[in-house]
Structures are given as C-alpha cells and as structure tokens.
C-alpha cells in the first residue's frame, strides 16, 4: 500500500502498464499542443500583448498625460469635470491610473489603431476594460505600450481590478468608441 514501503524493492525497474503509458503519452502530447497554440496565436492570432515597455518616472508620466489631454480635449464627461480626449487615430494615447481614477476619458474611433500607454502615478492598479474583458496590470514606474484597435462602437467601462486601497471600488473610467 501507499503507506508501506514498496513491495518490490527495486521499484524503479518495475514494468509500467500500457494504460499508464498511453495516458502519459496523451497528456504529454496535449501539453505540446497547448504550447504550440500559444506560439501559433502570436503568428496568426490578433490578441497578443506587446512586449514594449519603458521605465518611467511617475511625475514625468503624469506630465505627458496632461499634455495630451490639453491638446486633444473635446469636452468634459458629464458633470465630473474629467476631460474627454479625442486623439487622432494611430497616435500615442496616454492613460493614467491613480488613486482612484482612470484619467482622462478617451474617445476613440472604431476600427482605428492606437498606441495606448498605461502607467500609474502611485500604487499598482488593474486596467480592466468591460465588457470586452481586456485586463492588464498597471505598475508605477513602468510604462506599457499596447496597440489596440477597438472593433465595436459604444461606451466601455474601465474598472480597477487590482486592490488599491479603500477607494478601490470607486475607481472607474470610460472609453467611448465612435463610428467615423
């Protein structure tokens, strides 16, 4: 039994049953299939995270986000006073995570690509675009650049899904995707 020493002393020479070998072979092959699927998706799939990232000073990053917001502001969101920014397609778009806000609100055009920059001014936050389900970790001191192409129009929420203190559940932002 499993709670006793093996019956055959030289257990490592004991022959293995066909069924076990069969299952091990299938399981191993499945591991290879899963490995290949990830690689294949990099070649043929459309949803892959970029490896582009930079170290950045949080203050410098905040300054860049503000500069972009000043340049491309089109209006304010509701009565919140948060600017809505409509950057030109293909451009670099900066989004700031901070306690407890995603700033500013972005207005993007459907079917156009944008280089979205993500970083935090303070703690870690979790970029979670809903209901699309794109989730990316946001760190202070690191700036990640993802090229994103909104494929449907409408208003999408950005919520925070990395615990960031007592206001975590109030941290929400928006992306409007408009047809052009």
């Amino acid at each position: 039994m499993a709670i006793h020493p093996p019956v055959t002393r030289i257990w490592w020479r004991e022959p293995v049953a066909k069924m076990e070998i069969f299952w091990i072979a299938i399981a191993f092959a499945w591991g290879l299939v899963m490995f290949s699927t990830m690689v294949a998706w990099h070649i043929w799939g459309e949803q892959n995270l970029a490896n582009e990232a930079y170290r950045v000073n949080p203050e410098a990053y905040v300054a860049r986000v503000e500069a972009m917001a000043d340049k491309y502001k089109v209006r304010e969101e509701g009565d919140s006073g948060v600017p809505v920014v409509h950057p030109p397609p293909g451009s670099d778009v900066y989004l700031l995570a901070r306690l407890w806000q995603w700033w500013p609100v972005l207005e993007l055009e459907k079917g156009k690509s944008y280089r979205l920059h993500l970083s935090s001014a303070d703690w870690q936050h979790g970029f979670s675009l809903v209901p699309t389900n794109i989730n990316i970790q946001v760190h202070p001191g690191y700036e990640m650049v993802v090229t994103m192409r909104p494929s449907e129009s409408g208003t999408f929420g950005i919520i925070c899904n990395e615990f960031c203190g007592i206001g975590h559940h109030t941290m929400a932002g928006k992306i409007h995707v408009v047809d052009r």
């Binding site: 490995f35 700036e143 990640m144």
Partner: protein
C-alpha cells in the same frame, strides 16, 4: 549515578511508542503531541479564516452587502492569510510528521526544536492577524508594494516561515534517523515520498519568501527606500506559486494515504507515481511566470517558455496522479469482487465514509474545476481575458479549497482516531460533511468563475459603483452569479462549521478508543497488505478509470478552445 555524569543533551529518553488499535500503526509520543498541536491550531485558523471568508462572500452578495468597505478589505486580507497560509501550513506540518515518524515507525527527530518551530509559527500567525485587525495593514495577503503594511505584518509572516522551515528540517532529520535506525525496510512509502517532495519544494519556497519579505520588512521600517513592484511580484510568486505546489504534493499524498487506509488500495505503479511527484520538483521553479502574464516589460518568449516548461510538465505530474489514484481505487475494488460492468467498483465504493467521500470529491473537483481553469488562466493570451477578475479566486477555490482543504478534512477522520484515540462523534453529520462542504465550494468556484468571465473584479467591495464618480453597470447575469456565490458560500460554511464541530467535539468528547479494541464508526481499514500485488504491467484492466480520464480529457480540450474562441472576439491588441 551515571545519569548525573551525562550531559543533558545525552540524557534523551528512549522513544515511547504505542500501537493504534485501528490501523496497527506505531505512534511515537513526541510525534503524537506535535501532530495534535499542529492539527488543532490548523483547525482553529480554518474556523477563523472560514468565518472571514463567509463574511466576504456575504458582502459580495449584492442584496446582503454585509460589511462596510473598510472591514470588507480587512476581512479579505485576514481570510487569505488565515486559510491559505496558516490553516494549510499547520496542517501540512502535521502531515509531514505523520508521513515521517508514524509511517516510518520512527521517533521524531529533535522534538524540542520542533516545538520551537511550532511556537514561532504560532507567534508569527498571531502577529500577522493582530496587524491586519488593527486596520493599518490592509494589503491583502499578497501585499504588493508600493502599498505598505505595518512592520509587524511582514515580521509575523517571516517568523511563521522560519517556523515552517524548522518543521521541514525536522522532517528531513526524521527520515535520516529512520534510515539509520533501520525502522523500515526498502524504500520509503509512496505517501512519505510525496511528503518529501513537498518538503523539498517548501525549502525553495521559504527561501524565496525570505528573499522578498525580509527586504520588504526593512522597507516598512524605513531602512530601504523602495521595493521594485515588478521584482517583488516575480519573487513573491516564486513563493506564492511554489507553495501551491507544496499543497498539491501533500494533498495527493493524502489521497494515496486515504485510499490505502480505507480501501487497502495499492498504487498501480510505484515508479509512475513517484516520477509524477518528482515532476513537481523539477518543473516548478519559474511557475511564478503565470502570475506575470499581463505585466509590463516581460517578453512573450519568457512567458511562454516558463509557463509551458514549468507548468505543463508539472501539470503532467497532476494528470498522472489523476489517473493513478482512481486507478488504484478501481483495482482495489475489483480485487474485492466489485467487478461487474464499468462502474460497479465506483457505485459500491464507501460513499458513507467521510474519509473516502471527501477524498474522492477532492480528486474530482481538483481536476475538473481547479485544474482545468488553472491551465486556462495560465495561458499567455487567455490570461488577458481573466487576469484579476473574480475568475481567479474561482479557480483557486477549486484547487486549494475543493482540492487541498477537502482532502485534509477527509484525512482528519482517520487522524483523530489515530492520534487522539477518540471516536468520531455525530457520525450521521460526518457522513454528510464532505458533500456539504464539497458542493458548496464547487458552487463558490463555479459562480466566481462565471462572474469573472463577465468581467467582475476580484477584491472589490461594490460592483454597483454607488460612491464612484463614474459608473459602470454590470449585466444582471453578473449580479446573479454573485448572488449564487453567496448562497454557495453559506452551504460551504455549513459544511465547514460541521467539520469544526465534529473534529473539536470528537477530540473533547469522542468515545475513547482503548488500545487494542474498538474502532471509529467507519469501515474497518484492512490491516497489512489486504490486496496482493498488481503493480505490474498487464495484470490489470481498468475500464472505469479509462472512461473517467477520457471524460476529463475531453472537457479539458473543449473548455480550453472555447476560451480561445472568446479571445478571438476581443479587440485586436499587439
């Protein structure tokens, strides 16, 4: 006169053994006391941590929304630490001592030092709890910087880890003593081998923990100015993930122990099962990679290599146990004559014995719920869909609660008679306990996973965003999932309370088991090798197990590709 001349260290008393009347195992006095102490403290932390879990789940049930925000986050931090770290590790220390001292028929090495380890673990666990409940260390058990807890939070964790490391050393030393004193013949039993795997991984794990928690502690007292959040995560998860591999090794060892003690089942092949354990050691070092799949500045090559080399070969280990454990049960049952059709062996299994029922539910749920979802989550691109949503706690309640915790509960029904010499009280309730807890936890896991696929975030007090500047409205389906999760949590908690009541009640009031007579109210475990040798090729035929693993495999493949299909609908990213 001679005794006076001896130094105190040499005046060790000869080990004292007694014989368990039910199993025939020889129990050494020091090991017995340490196992009792660790198991009791474990159950206390499960009770405390479980109640925190219930309060968290009731808060996330939208219509109930039990706790205010501040207390929700405190309770969640305490829940994670108390159950994931303290309950599991205290129990694992008990299992290590069982697998070394009792199974090898040996005295336990250095019992005084073992008590020091135990004391450190208790002090550390209490210190961390105090820190959390004081309210200024609400950082979740992962404590990602730059968010900072009070120094005694980190210090508590470090002390706890040192205590656990001492316990591992005692385990290794006991193996050495047993070998030297020839207390057993041939190789160590498979269960001890599994425990050895766990202890080896634990050393690696605790080293990673020290590498990251000690600087973090120094940072919290102001001696270090910053901790890089990305490096922290990488090293923290070298501890955090590897410790899950400890849990898996121990609970698989516990599965083997239960099927041996309850059914007299032998492993199909010692070689295959041991190889599978070895894979856990060989292929886990960088498994922290799958916690880093959507972090900035990490290359896809690194992610793919480390998740698949490290993960799929470790997964392969689990897939092997997933066949050999039911296979061992089937073989044992067929030997006993339950050999009609494909599934008579399963139908006629001792479902009324909570040790067996808990073990089997743990096996099935760990595989189907925890295992499959874990591989999906750990796939580089699929992680984008689910990272940090409540799908993640859904997944690990499938592994560490339905898997590990349920297996530990199941084996308790065998350990209480063995070490406390008491019968299990309330056998009627005990019969139902694994089902209540198991199905409750399956519910928690599945409903959290369901809510996660709808985007519901983890660790979140209010998905209605009632105090937020900007609002996002989740679909009614998401609210329904969180409600069902609350209901399942109540069921699981009833199962958890039943467990605590039965265990504590049995220890205090259970009928004493006199040496050499009486037994627990479950089926008599066979003494000695009730089952002959069938470890060899060609001597067994296990159609039932083949069907089970076939169903499992198909579900796995289907679910895996369904998620790729979801991913294909998401906005293009590069």
């Amino acid at each position: 006169m001679e005794a006076i001349a001896q130094s105190p260290a040499r005046a060790v008393k000869a080990p004292v053994f007694r014989i368990c009347s039910i199993t025939g195992l020889r129990v050494e006095a020091n090991a017995e006391m340490l196992i009792r102490a660790n198991a009791v403290v474990a159950v206390i932390f499960l009770a405390i941590g479980g109640l925190f879990g219930l309060s968290v789940a009731l808060t996330r049930w939208p219509a109930v929304h039990l706790l205010p925000a501040e207390w929700f986050y405190i309770a969640l931090t305490a829940h994670g630490a108390d159950v994931l770290l303290f309950w599991i590790l205290f129990f694992e220390v008990a299992v290590l001592y069982f697998a070394s001292s009792t199974l090898l028929n040996s005295r336990l090495a250095a019992p005084r030092i073992a008590w020091v380890g135990f004391a450190l673990m208790v002090v550390g666990a209490l210190m961390a709890n105090v820190a959390v409940l004081q309210g200024e260390s609400t950082v979740m058990f992962t404590s990602y910087p730059p968010m900072q807890a009070k120094p005694h939070f980190y210090l508590g964790l470090v002390l706890f880890a040192v205590g656990a490391l001492i316990a591992c050393m005692i385990f290794f030393a006991t193996l050495v003593i047993a070998k030297e004193e020839k207390t057993y013949e041939g190789s160590i039993p498979l269960v001890t081998f599994g425990a050895l795997t766990a202890a080896i991984i634990a050393v690696f794990t605790i080293a990673s923990g020290a590498i990251i928690l000690i600087p973090t502690f120094l940072w919290s007292v102001g001696l270090i100015s910053t901790i890089d959040p990305l490096t922290y995560k990488l090293v923290w998860w070298a501890m955090g993930h590897s410790s899950q591999q400890i849990n898996v090794s121990v609970h698989v060892a516990v599965w083997y122990a239960i099927v041996a003690m309850v059914l007299g089942a032998k492993p199909l092949s010692e070689k295959v099962s041991r190889m599978a354990f070895l894979m856990y050691i060989l292929f886990l070092q960088l498994a922290s990679a799958h916690h880093m799949l959507v972090e900035p500045g990490i290359s896809s090559e690194w992610k793919i290599f480390n998740t698949s080399y490290a993960l799929y070969l470790a997964v392969l280990g689990s897939l092997i146990h997933g066949m050999t454990v039911p296979g061992a049960i089937e073989a044992a049952q067929r030997k006993k004559g339950f050999s009609r059709g494909i599934f008579e062996w399963l139908r006629k299994a001792p479902w009324g014995n909570p040790a067996f029922a808990g073990m089997f539910l743990s096996l099935v749920m760990f595989g189907f719920i925890g295992g499959i979802s874990g591989v999906v989550l750990g796939t580089e691109q699929l992680n984008i869909l689910m990272h940090n949503t409540i799908y993640v706690p859904g997944h690990f309640h499938g592994t560490v609660v339905a898997g590990t915790t349920l297996a530990f509960m199941a084996v308790t029904y065998l350990l209480v008679p063995l070490y406390f010499k008491r019968e299990i009280i309330l056998p009627g309730l005990a019969r139902w306990q694994p089902y209540l807890f198991g199905f409750g936890v399956a519910g928690i896991s599945l409903f959290m996973m369901g809510a996660g696929t709808l985007g519901v975030p983890r660790r979140h007090w209010d998905i209605t965003f009632s105090d937020a500047q900007m609002v996002y409205s989740f679909s009614p389906a998401a609210f329904l999932m969180m409600t069902l999760n609350g209901i399942a949590a109540v069921i699981a908690s009833l199962g958890g309370i039943a467990y605590v009541v039965i265990v504590v009640g049995s220890i205090l009031f259970g009928k004493r088991i006199p040496d050499g007579k009486e037994r627990a109210p479950f089926e008599a475990p066979p003494v000695g090798n009730a089952v002959g040798q069938y470890g060899n090729a060609g001597t067994f035929h296990l159609p039932g197990t083949l069907v089970l693993v076939g169903v499992f495999f198909l579900s796995f493949v289907l679910y895996y590709y369904v998620n790729w299909k979801y991913l294909a609908q998401v906005w293009p990213l590069k």
